[in-house]
Symmetry: C2
Subunit: 390 residues, 2 copies
């Protein structure tokens, strides 16, 4: 099977928690002549991207663009400050929290896990208690949106107040919801935000973005990690000197993300947060009206990853396969123990009425075809009621 630009078979609606649908002008930005990454041309672009990034992340320190996945950015948040026997809190309520905990342990540090059930999220009081019980914790890692379950942290600002009071660093693994949910770095006292180009930015995958506080930066510059690739002090020094990267950057995605940043700035972050809230709510209300069971605790629901329990008798592979094949709508399955039990709809990036309604009607129709009696009209009505606020 070949995949190329002219093969329209593959034009589908990608309703995943990343990668998302990418606007054509962002994709087209990659069709640019080669440039050298040790040239003034690259430096000019990087300067612009840093300028835009600082507006979007609401921070003072320069944004770091890492040519790698979100996992690399999260790993960098760990390897650059945690050392052997350091203690770090971490929220664990799904696959990605589990990974952060493993990464913390990988550098010889001790993860103190704040565990919640899959579909739920640890509470602010759990977090506060853990900080009090571990006054020597160097950092707290919060997976702000647990992509594997669709549970999000609703107390990030309060967490920042607490960690700064305790003198700990607050690291936000915000891979799947930065740009969709509010988290101004400075105002919320966050020390590190990690995210990826293919999530709420609606650019193609390939770049991870890192925003950090002055205090996090100073800590890691004073005690730099040894390995090269995720060595953020090297990125900072090179950027300060010539606005270039120490290692070869993924140029096409730089071109794309630079354009995606423009679109974000034009819309405005506040508008973006509202749009994501409205579309997320439209999905939840529609799925309930359709007669499906939402997965996860109502009070911890994500705006960007909508998890739905499969009704009895609906097979994951068959449902998602036919949804993609017949309707051209691609949604995600469950992770690990949730595999086959839930499906997940990404509601981020360029999410809008068209995407929401097409997805809902396709899912309702496909459910009916597979034997579940879905109330399509009620679902569309429930969605429209929310979407009218856009």
């Amino acid at each position: 099977m070949s995949i190329n630009a002219n093969d329209s078979t593959y034009q589908q609606l990608i309703m995943l928690p990343g990668p998302t649908n990418v606007p054509i002008e962002v994709t087209q930005a990659m069709v640019a002549p080669s440039i050298g990454h040790r040239t003034a041309t690259f430096s000019s672009m990087m300067k612009e991207m840093i300028r835009k990034g600082k507006i979007l992340f609401e921070c003072q320190e320069d944004i770091i663009h890492l040519s790698a996945s979100g996992t690399a950015a999260v790993e960098a948040s760990i390897t650059n400050i945690l050392r052997k026997d350091d203690k770090a809190l971490v929220t664990v309520c799904g696959e990605f929290g589990g990974r952060v905990s493993e990464q913390i342990a990988s550098v010889g540090a001790n993860p103190i896990e704040l565990v919640a059930d899959y579909g739920d999220f640890p509470s602010l009081s759990d977090f506060e208690r853990a900080l009090e019980n571990n006054p020597d914790a160097k950092a707290a890692y919060i997976v702000t949106n647990e992509t594997s379950s669709g549970a999000m942290c609703h107390w990030l600002k309060e967490a920042g107040d607490l960690t700064s009071k305790h003198g700990a660093f607050l690291v936000a693994d915000a891979v799947s919801n930065w740009g969709a949910d509010k988290m101004p770095l400075e105002d919320y006292n966050i020390d590190f935000i990690a995210t990826g180009s293919q999530k709420a930015c609606a650019a193609p995958p390939g770049l991870a973005m890192i925003a950090l506080s002055k205090r996090y930066k100073e800590q890691m510059m004073n005690d730099p990690q040894k390995l090269h690739f995720l060595n953020l002090p090297r990125f900072i020094k090179m950027s300060d000197k010539v606005k270039q990267t120490p290692f070869t950057p993924c140029l096409p995605v730089y071109f794309a993300l630079n354009k995606a940043y423009d679109i974000m700035i034009e819309e405005g972050m506040e508008n973006r947060y509202i749009r994501h809230q409205i579309c997320g709510k439209a999905f939840y209300d529609a799925f309930e009206a359709m007669g499906l069971q939402l997965f996860g605790a109502p009070e911890t629901r994500s705006n960007t990853v909508i998890s739905i329990a499969y009704p009895d008798g609906i097979d994951d592979k068959e449902f998602r396969g036919s949804l993609a094949k017949n309707y051209g709508v691609v949604v995600a399955g469950g992770f690990g123990e949730m595999m086959g039990k839930i499906f997940r709809v990404g509601s981020l990036g360029m999410i809008n009425s068209y995407y929401v309604l097409t997805t809902i009607s396709s899912i309702a129709n496909n459910m009916n075809r597979l034997g579940f009696k879905a109330n399509t009209d009620a679902a569309i009505d429930a969605a429209l009621k929310n979407l009218s606020k856009l």
Copy 2:
């Protein structure tokens, strides 16, 4: 300054040791609809890329495509097998050899450096002696083409014979010359080849390719590294299971590299090696005929990175700046202590007569403009004599 596809200011001839000029069909391949990387569509593409990669690298084990730079691939070659107090030989005759040595030391292993002057390359007998003096060396790292100076290893096959005799792993940091110079993994007894998409493959930057031997694979599967992002056993397990990657892949560059692989297979690797040799020789002969001094020892000269000493009175910044601005030809300067003393021309990827002749005539003309008397006609004649063999 904005950079976009319609800004023809930036259409230049990129004569760098990577990134290189990218064929338009490879660039266009990135203009594809979003796909999910946890879908059969992605698996099909990855399967195809692995199949093609195995032909190109001449190896049995599946190729690993790492969404990161060459530095990451080289670091993976180290973190996945070297452990504290292990000994590893490493060729050091420039910036990149120095980096590998540092990376070896970063994991607590001991680099045994085989040092040569900048512009020269350690000899096979040095290598053999070092192996004999260090019978407990776990691996030997050869930077097959020292991009910073333009010196290449001409005894890679012999190195493979020696390391396999000594029971050590042979790792080729071949970032800037794999695909241009012959190095069949199996036939040469190489255990690990690391390279990047933006080098001799002539694709955009963003992906690193790793080919490995069965024995290297077994070693690292039996004693996996702890961190996630460069954890190759995770890549292998995921690939074996579903032909997917453990972390988000840089999709646009996958599309591009998949197309670039087709072009490589169509040309044939042997033809590619010959073309690189001829074009490299054309450059060397032309620069000498022009009256310039080549940098580095004649017997260690690279086919892909042509280093030339600046004549007295020619300023690096002025020369390269005006070459780019007036002629649209971008070449590289020197690294570290060589900065301002040499310039480097990349002769790789789609390198052909047009690229060689345009570069030579532009450089000769610019040298004349800046006060050095370059013999343009003799240079072109010398180049043509070689290029007629293409």
